[in-house]
Amino acid sequence: MYPTTKFESALLRESFEKIDHPSGLPIYVFPKKLSATYAILSVRFGSIDTRIRLAPNSDVLTFPDGIAHFLEHKLFENPDGSDSLTAFSTFGADANAYTGHTRTAYLFSCTEKFSESLAELLRFVTTPWFTPESVERERGIITEEIRAIVDSPWDRCAERLAEGLYHLHPVRKNICGSEESIARITPELLYQAYNIFYQLPNMALVVCGDVTAGEVLAVADKVLPKVKQPMRPILRVPVPEPPGIVSPRMREEMPVSIPILNFGFKDAKIPADPVLRIRRDAILSLVGEVLFSRSNDFFGTLFEEGLITSSYSYSYSICETFADFDLSCESEDPEEVRQCLLDYLADMRRSGLDPEALERARRVLIADQIRDYDSTEEIANNLLVFLFDDAELFGYPALLASVTEAEANACLGELFREENLCLSVVAPAGK
């Protein structure tokens, strides 16, 4: 038996196990009686990881923007000329991958032949193979992916917002990189990045479905090394991010029917302690729900007055090096919405959050948490987010329940201020 930790939730009536595999790969198994089993193997290597040192005093290695995403595209190719997507298909599994700011993930879902698919996932992610010809072909594919983003006004608006909020932090760059940056990516650079980041202790496997830990470990034991390799250090070199935002307003003209607005509040108070960081996430998620829910005054008034359309969303996200609260909407009069937002926030700071609205928001967010446990995909991805941020998945509903009015009002006062606010607008020419 390998060292195993069990996690249980009475509220959710769910449990999962964490197993320390001898190869160094942490494995999480979440049993769930659904038809689809979902497995995701992820590495702590995202688009922002472009500057690192291999030792405390060594030179800084700088990778071109978009290299994590490029690597994700290329990893499905095998030394024998086959590709793993086809292999998954022969097992009837549906495989995919994605790259985020802080991680890359490879995944599949299946309803049969789970062990064969899991073996393929573990094997191909641990077997890099890059050739000049295939890298060149992939450059063309990724170039078109970048152009699709360029043609999307919502993506452009979000990109402009990141540029308006962050001076130097790499989160301001597109996850795919740019046509210029990916032009510099070579097989050699891909191997170098792979060898640095794709170390098993820097990864995690999450499996959710009608499987047992024994089934998962039987595959892992066959495919992965028997002995843990010492983890080579990965020293991320943060670019010191100046306080404050870059610009209160960003603007781009595109042929859209109505201006698209992204408001962002840059949160500079990111706790170094993961426990406090996840607590801040809970507090600000709750505050955001109170302030911007479709059942409350801000949305209600602006929508009923015809100032915004029904296209409206908001979210808070936080990780170790960046955090912001975003609010998206559409309006013919971006400046009027901005002023309404600032006036509303000033009122809320003065009056404090309505305790009744706070309780309603708490009820909604806890119910949302429970609903998330109806999908193996949702469960596995949520678990991954929490474990990569050293947070406890099952603890989140209790965190939401424990947020006090005083904490919520304190965070409201800290974050939702004009000096932290950037408004990004994509608008038709002349609007």
Binding site: E138, G140, I141, R294, S295, E304, R360, I370
Partner: protein, 436 residues
């Protein structure tokens, strides 16, 4: 164990129930069908939007939303869509299973009441008309929705393909109407349409969750009216099975990519012989990242990111699409067609066919995990009068032979070629299109 709905009559309509403790949140929906006309395509969506804005008991949008929050964040989706030759007006609620509530609350009763309020107790003025302010506000939003279709180029290209492909058919009317049609709607006209909706109301209700059928039935009977209408057939006229000529349309747009869509008549449609073979053919061609379009075009030539094939079974349409640099348009079309030709000539392996069938059977089984997927699958079959299950669908897929697939490929006839030509990097003019 396979989840299969039990059907019974409800008022003058149908109740379809899947009772299961599998999920932490359940689904309760009401669909009603109206004929598609140029008017109803515009009025149906507008009516739903106005109804969602306020009711007698919950007189504003925030009031409705607060009620939903009080019902533990129950989500309500109200939307129009085409089903067969009908305009479906759909209202669906996703509600938490009562076993997970921290206190005893009759969520079902609350949700049923709210659905009834929204559909049948709207805010009316002193003349019994839908409130003018709400109608005018929603007209502006619907016009904006029509304009904003262009903001997402790929989806816009798809909507344009459908427009040209279905010209002359009921589904050829754009579902929100045109800006001019929306602008001309009066509160009186929309109120009359609401009365028509009530008179022809014949609920098709669907429920997935752990609650007993008697409770669901009682709540629906209490909140939905009975009318004299009976369930309409899905099709007034069956979709055309083959194309007479090929229509080519290109439209310019100030974007960097080009979006090429080829629309084929499938020679069959959902529930008809040969339809399962078309499903397998489409999967083999471009349904996944192991499909021929993905491997033989995207991966082999590296000139596109988005490529695939799609079977819109209820309309008997197969679509192949590719997004790429506009000056590669002719090359893309040639490659898409050559992949289809290869299938017609039988140039595909048994392994490729097996992979496509496995992928589809995987999808069938995964639909068992999603209440809304179950609803989509069974609602169509129920209204078509087809006795079918997901397991039976899986079995039919497994029995499709290579000869079936070849025959399905040969039966496809190209109807419409639509190209949305990005002009930012210069588009090609190597193919004669009727450029608009």
């Amino acid at each position: 164990m396979e989840l299969v709905p039990q059907q019974s009559s409800l008022q003058n309509g149908i109740l379809s129930l899947i009772r299961t403790g599998k999920f932490k949140s359940g689904l309760l929906s009401v669909t009603t069908l109206l004929p598609i006309t140029q008017k109803s395509a515009c009025l149906g969506p507008l009516l739903l939007s106005v109804l969602r804005r306020g009711t007698e008991k919950y007189p504003s949008l925030p009031a409705i939303n607060r009620r939903l929050d009080d019902l533990y964040g129950t989500g309500i989706s109200i939307r129009p869509f085409y089903l067969g030759d009908r305009l479906a007006l759909f209202c669906s609620a996703e509600l938490l299973d009562e076993a997970y509530l921290p206190e005893p609350v009759d969520l079902l009763a609350g949700v049923g009441e709210l659905i009834g309020q929204i559909l049948f107790h709207p805010l009316l003025d002193e003349n019994g008309l839908l409130c003018e302010a709400l109608v005018e506000s929603e007209k502006e939003l619907q016009k904006e929705k029509i304009r904003s279709l262009k903001d997402a180029p790929r989806s816009y290209a798809y909507s344009r393909l459908l427009h040209f492909f279905h010209e002359g058919e009921p589904v050829g009317f754009p579902i929100f109407g045109t800006e001019e049609e929306v602008a001309a709607v009066t509160p009186r006209e929309l109120t009359d349409f609401w009365h028509q909706f009530k008179e022809s109301f014949c609920p098709v209700c669907f429920s997935v969750g752990s609650l007993p059928g008697e409770r669901i039935r009682a709540v629906l009977e209490e909140n939905l009216p009975r009318s004299g209408a009976s369930l309409p057939s899905l099709y007034l006229r069956e979709p055309p099975l083959s194309a007479k000529t090929v229509r080519r349309v290109a439209e310019p747009m100030d974007i960097s990519q080009g979006h090429l869509l080829l629309g084929f008549r499938a020679g069959t449609f959902a529930g008809m012989p040969g339809s399962t073979a078309v499903t397998v053919l489409t999967e083999l061609l471009g349904g996944s990242s192991s499909s021929r379009l993905f491997r033989n075009i995207r991966e082999a030539y590296g000139f596109c990111y988005s490529i695939g094939a799609y079977y819109r079974a209820e309309r008997g349409m197969v679509m192949l699409h590719c997004s790429m640099r506009p000056d590669r348009r002719a090359f893309a079309e040639e490659k898409l067609l050559s992949e289809l030709e290869a299938i017609r000539a039988g140039k595909f392996s048994d392994e490729e066919l097996d992979v496509a069938k496995k992928s589809l059977r995987n999808v069938c089984r995964q639909m068992q995990d999603s209440p809304s997927s179950l609803e989509d699958f069974y609602r169509f079959r129920l209204l078509r009068g087809v006795d079918d299950t997901l397991a039976a669908q899986g079995t039919r897929i497994a029995s499709v032979t290579r000869e079936d697939v070849i025959a399905a490929a040969r039966a496809l006839s190209l109807d419409t070629v639509y190209f949305l030509r990005g002009t930012q990097r210069g588009g090609d003019a190597d193919v004669p299109d009727d450029e608009i």
